[in-house]
Symmetry: C2
Subunit: 321 residues, 2 copies
């Protein structure tokens, strides 16, 4: 089964600029916020790019929006498809509805009803499958074969990566004197796009990834120069359990200053700080960069650091404190 | 014991403009946010003035800031005092620290330790008293007699009212085509200032108050033309349990389009919508205006309404769902 195929090479800075042009008005230009209380705790000047306030509550709206808007008319008429039970599914469903085309989402039958409802709320057609990788890929292949829909991978897709890079573009515009930018690493789409955006506009700014120590496959992959499979899901940061693809591994290896790992208690503490001090609902994955600043203080002491809060979709019935 | 005494008459629109000038740079110019999802549920265009993102997490930073900055040098040197265990105490403590003067806060010994810690964190001196009105007033009088500090009432004070009005001033500037503005009513300071600000700049805009039906003393006071005492505290919206003063009763009677009451379940539902759809941590009192729009749909159908989210200070261990 083919991926979009519209860009076979790694995305360039020009692709990020084109994505920014394409999705303008379709996604929010999210605010950058800061907190003198948290700055005091961190011993650094922190600027939070609030993608929890993005459409569908996550940066994923950017990549999915770019991929859907880049389709030619003939492809668009056949719709888009993906397998995901998370933010990418909702983002693709919303982008498809905005363009007036079909979205087919393959979801395991074990997906939480609330996530199913969110995707259905955006008008997508859900195909249920067994909760195995083989069943998921088979179901997706069947959808694509029947409908001719274009598969939009959650992160191993140049148009998606270019779209995710637009958040950093806005952050650098709003806070020009940044010394470093950091965001969470799951499949690597956000940080690949971020690294490309920073390299093209402010190459002197260091780009860091942040990852739970309990799901540190990206950290070990970059350290050892070889791609490791994802670990069994043990981190509260459930958006960061996927592994890098060949593409995101290649981009991050070439461009990141490094990946910093954080403890689970550090994630919960950082999440709670964001809720209490900034009054922002942030999902655990979105708090991982702040946790990294707090657990690696010496590296950022006195620096001006931009942190990407990746999303705010969290079950209010099951908070980790 | 005297109140500040610097303004014995009700505040004017010019006082609100002077307050805006005085507190510029000392408080945040909070953002106005909106949500197409919530607009769809409400059947109206809603613009949320996010005072939960204000310093100390509530609009109270405006009134306290204005009162403290308006003190002459001699009075300032003697400090300020108030009795409160809530947002006004934290706001006065922060304003005093910003000006480098003392703040004396009288608190009942039953106040939650977290609120005590917040006020102490801003450097205020806490005087503990028994949890009765008489003990509170006695303790405050003793502080004022000993120190010469100026008593800053949480809402029955023209400078405080003028300061609270600056939130509406910003809201009207950011969203010029509003048809109505609504905020919660407790002691009436916020909505007195709001009504004065709206009357002076956009008199054709209707100003509504919103109040829990379980604490509807302001609603009944305006309806019957006489001031009722506060009810026993039964509403989840714990910021709205105080009663109007003669002054705020007079201002609101003359200027409000009306007060709309809401159910407790409506408050919790509105609060949850703001958390889930807008990713904002909002305290129950701050969700009361949205609850009013949802429970009085016909009145706002298709209208452009500005809602003041009054604060975001909530105990994350004890959420109402």
């Amino acid at each position: 089964m083919d991926s979009m195929g519209s860009m076979t090479n790694d995305p360039s800075f020009e692709d990020v600029l084109a994505a920014a042009e394409r999705i303008r008005g379709v996604v929010h230009r999210t605010p950058v916020m800061s907190s003198s209380a948290i700055d005091g705790i961190a011993g650094a000047r922190l600027f939070f790019k609030c993608e929890n306030l993005q459409k569908v509550g996550a940066f994923k709206a950017r990549g999915a929006g770019n991929a859907v808007l880049a389709l030619d008319e003939a492809a668009a008429r056949r719709g888009v498809a993906t397998h995901s039970s998370g933010n990418h599914a909702a983002a693709l469903a919303l982008a498809a509805r905005t363009r007036g085309i079909a979205a087919h989402i393959v979801m395991p039958r074990t997906a939480p009803p609330v996530k199913r409802a969110a995707v259905e709320g955006y008008g997508a057609r859900i195909r249920t499958c067994e909760p195995t990788l083989a069943a998921r890929e088979e179901a997706l292949a069947a959808v694509v074969a029947t409908t001719g829909a274009t598969f939009v991978h959650p992160y191993d897709e140049p148009l998606v990566i270019a779209g995710q890079g637009t958040a950093a573009l806005e952050l650098l515009t709003d806070v020009p004197e940044l010394e470093a930018v950091m965001g969470p690493v799951g499949g690597g789409g956000l940080m690949s796009g971020t690294a490309i955006a920073v390299a093209g506009s402010r190459p002197e700014v260091a780009v860091w990834g942040a990852e739970p120590a309990a799901a540190d496959d990206a950290f070990r992959s970059l350290r050892d120069g070889r791609r490791y499979p994802p670990l069994a899901p043990t981190s509260i940061a459930d958006g960061l359990l996927t592994a890098l693809s060949d593409r995101t591994f290649r981009i991050l290896s070439a461009r990141l200053a490094g990946i910093l790992t954080v403890s689970e208690t550090g994630i919960v503490r950082a999440m709670r700080l964001l809720w209490e001090r900034m009054k922002l609902v942030v999902e655990p994955s979105g708090a991982v960069p702040l946790a990294a600043v707090l657990e690696h203080r010496e590296r950022f002491a006195g620096r001006r650091v931009g942190l990407i809060i990746s999303g705010g979709n969290v079950d209010l019935e099951r908070l980790p404190w």
